[in-house]
């Protein structure tokens, strides 16, 4: 039965059940968007939940696919929204982890061609990884793009300045099978505060996969790499972890891939109905999207701290 996954019940819990769960776990991994905040607004009660967990000696980490800001910027956002105890070391974003992968796992010798904004570039800078974007050769056309020498990897992340020229250049670099192909994440879209959505990194990665006939190595959830990043810096026992997220196909699958217990909060993207459909589905792969537990909001943790 090696590799068999525990059956996930998708059980809504409250009151003492939450208290027992909080007692049983030492490590709490939170997704951000839709879990602790919506855009620039903290979810009611979320700052208190985080600080209470920390006060009770729990290890709290934030695991986000959102690569639009560097970590130092995230720290400011946490503070601004009332999460005053959060330190940079607790924040694991897909852009930060991509830089770690390039530096420590791939040990890339050479430059990285980046399709991404400040959130991605700053992390590469911090990690000491040289990179190029397409601004370096402004007179290039798609039929005759000047390529930088010594590019050993292409990293695709969220890029609101994405252009066809960048796509063309990236596919040129990726014709070399030894050139790495990395994606921060494959989220197809992400929601804003008011429920509207914007295209995600997944769209740009998909375009490049079609152009090259190659599959990107995905850093962000649901790939387990971000958990490996956390484990390499902190002594973490998967059995002591709870992954809390709002997106079944990324957060819950991530938890399942890392062997963690998972909790869906209903303040974000996914709905209870969908989770139940996955649970009751005949296709066993859908079971990996199912959470162990469900709460309406993480603020439901708060009564558990009153003792």
């Amino acid at each position: 039965m090696a590799g068999a996954r525990a059956f996930k019940e998708c059980r809504k819990i409250g009151g003492s059940q939450i208290r027992n769960l909080l007692n049983a776990k030492d490590f709490f991994l939170f997704d951000c968007d839709g879990v602790i905040w919506h855009g620039e607004k903290a979810i009611t009660g979320a700052p208190k939940v985080v600080s209470s967990l920390i006060k009770h000696g729990k290890n709290v980490f934030f695991v986000t696919n959102n690569c639009t800001r560097p970590r130092e910027n995230y720290v400011n956002k946490f503070y601004r929204l009332g999460f005053t105890d959060v330190m940079q070391e607790q924040i694991f974003s897909s852009s930060y982890c991509s830089a770690l992968y390039l530096r420590d796992v791939a040990k890339v010798q050479g430059k990285v061609f980046v399709i991404g904004g400040e959130g991605v570039r700053n992390e590469l800078l911090e990690a000491g990884i040289p990179f190029v974007g397409d601004e370096d050769a402004p007179d290039g056309t798609i039929f005759n793009c000047a390529l930088a020498s010594d590019v050993k990897a292409v990293l695709v992340g969220h890029d609101d300045k994405f252009t066809f020229l960048k796509l063309a250049k990236a596919s040129c670099y990726l014709r070399d099978p030894n050139c790495l192909f990395l994606a921060t994440d494959v989220d197809p879209w992400h929601p804003l505060q008011d429920g509207r959505i914007l295209p995600g990194s997944g769209c740009l990665t998909a375009a490049l996969e079609v152009a090259t006939g190659r599959k990107a190595m995905v850093i962000g959830k649901p790939s387990p790499f971000m958990f490996e990043c956390i484990s390499s810096q902190f002594r973490v026992d998967p059995a002591q972890c709870l992954m809390v997220g709002d997106r079944l196909e990324t957060d819950m699958l991530f938890g399942a891939n890392c062997g963690l217990d998972t909790m869906l909060t209903l303040t974000g993207i996914s709905q209870m109905k969908t989770a139940q459909e996955y649970r009751d589905s005949d296709h066993s792969t859908n079971h990996n999207f199912v959470p162990d537990y469900v709460v309406d909001t993480i603020a439901d943790f708060l009564p558990a701290f009153e003792d």
């Binding site: 798609i142 804003l192 959505i197 295209p199 375009a207 079609v210």
Partner: protein, 306 residues
């Protein structure tokens, strides 16, 4: 009747094959030209076929030119061809929207000026063509003003493709009644010297990923392109030959429409690719095995001249 497939076409087989067809449909890129360079011998092949009384059509997934632009390019490169013999996806998409979708309304277009022109020719207005630089912040992008008359998002080759265009398409496609139509799914556009530019398929995939739905594609291998030709010229499919360089578009179109198929090796696909499909035994892949292949269509010349 079992027919042997993927046969090297040479010698008397060529004449035999042409005696059995009245119409020949040629793909363009990788078959009669590469970028701005003709495949040597290609103009003679086309011109001789016509002299021998065959109908010749040009069926291309390339959406960057109107029929008129193609006719001009063909003439410049020595091919006897008229505008009405050319079927590109700019033209065919406009025809599709007009006659199949029966579109009442405007189009948000990610595509070329050629597409805009072909749409306007059938009375369909578009918005969106050309550069679309980004400005403002996320909330502005999610709230871009939408033209209420837009009833379809149409995607073709667009060198100005950008995040902003992808975003606009997504905002329109949030309405489930808004159609999503793509010209084609080709992954690359081959150019001279082995260069390749990403194809429309990449752009379309980005839009499909954002909107989490599949586009209706007009181009090969969808049978619509053949239907377009056949409806205007009354073809007998049993006496038609499709000549192309891509197994997954040209040859598959031919198979889907019951045409004879000829692969030329001056473009994307190889004999090894064809044989792999053949050996797979997978029904879906068998449609990509050509009846015949040649190294280049120039190999057809001796038989046509003789």
């Amino acid at each position: 009747m079992a027919v042997s497939k993927c046969t090297r076409l040479n010698g008397p087989l060529i004449k035999q094959m042409f005696d059995s067809v009245d119409s020949v449909l040629f793909d363009c890129d990788g078959v009669i030209w590469r970028g701005d360079q003709t495949i040597p011998g290609a103009p003679d092949v086309i011109n001789l076929l016509k002299k021998n009384g065959k109908n010749v059509f040009f069926v291309t997934n390339n959406s960057t030119k109107t029929r008129k632009m193609y006719a001009d390019k063909l003439a410049l490169m020595g091919f006897n061809a008229t505008e009405d013999e050319v079927f590109g996806t700019a033209y065919c998409s406009a025809m599709y929207l007009k006659h199949v979708s029966k579109l009442q309304g405007k189009v948000y277009l990610i595509g070329s000026n050629a597409m805009r022109q072909e749409l306007e020719k059938v009375g369909i207005q578009q918005t969106g063509v050309g550069p679309d630089p980004i400005s403002g912040v996320q909330i502005d992008w999610a709230n871009v003003p939408l033209d209420p008359e837009v009833k379809a998002v149409v995607v073709g080759f667009d060198e100005h493709f950008s995040y902003m265009k992808l975003n606009r398409a997504l905002q329109y496609l949030n309405n489930p009644d808004c159609l999503l139509v793509g010209t084609n799914t080709d992954t690359r556009l081959p150019l001279e010297g082995g260069k390749a530019v990403p194809g429309t398929g990449c752009i379309l995939k980005a839009v499909e990923t954002a909107a989490q739905r599949q586009a209706q594609t007009v181009g090969k291998p969808n049978h619509f392109m053949y239907d377009c030709v056949a409806s205007q010229f009354g073809l007998d499919r049993a006496r038609c030959l499709m000549v192309g360089d891509r197994l997954d578009t040209d040859i598959l179109l031919g198979s889907n429409c019951g045409l004879k198929t000829l692969l030329t090796l001056t473009g994307v696909s190889t004999v090894a690719d064809a044989e792999a499909h053949q050996e797979s035994g997978c029904p879906k892949r068998l449609g990509m095995v050509p009846d015949y292949y040649v190294e280049s269509i120039a190999e057809l010349l001796p038989a046509l001249q003789g």
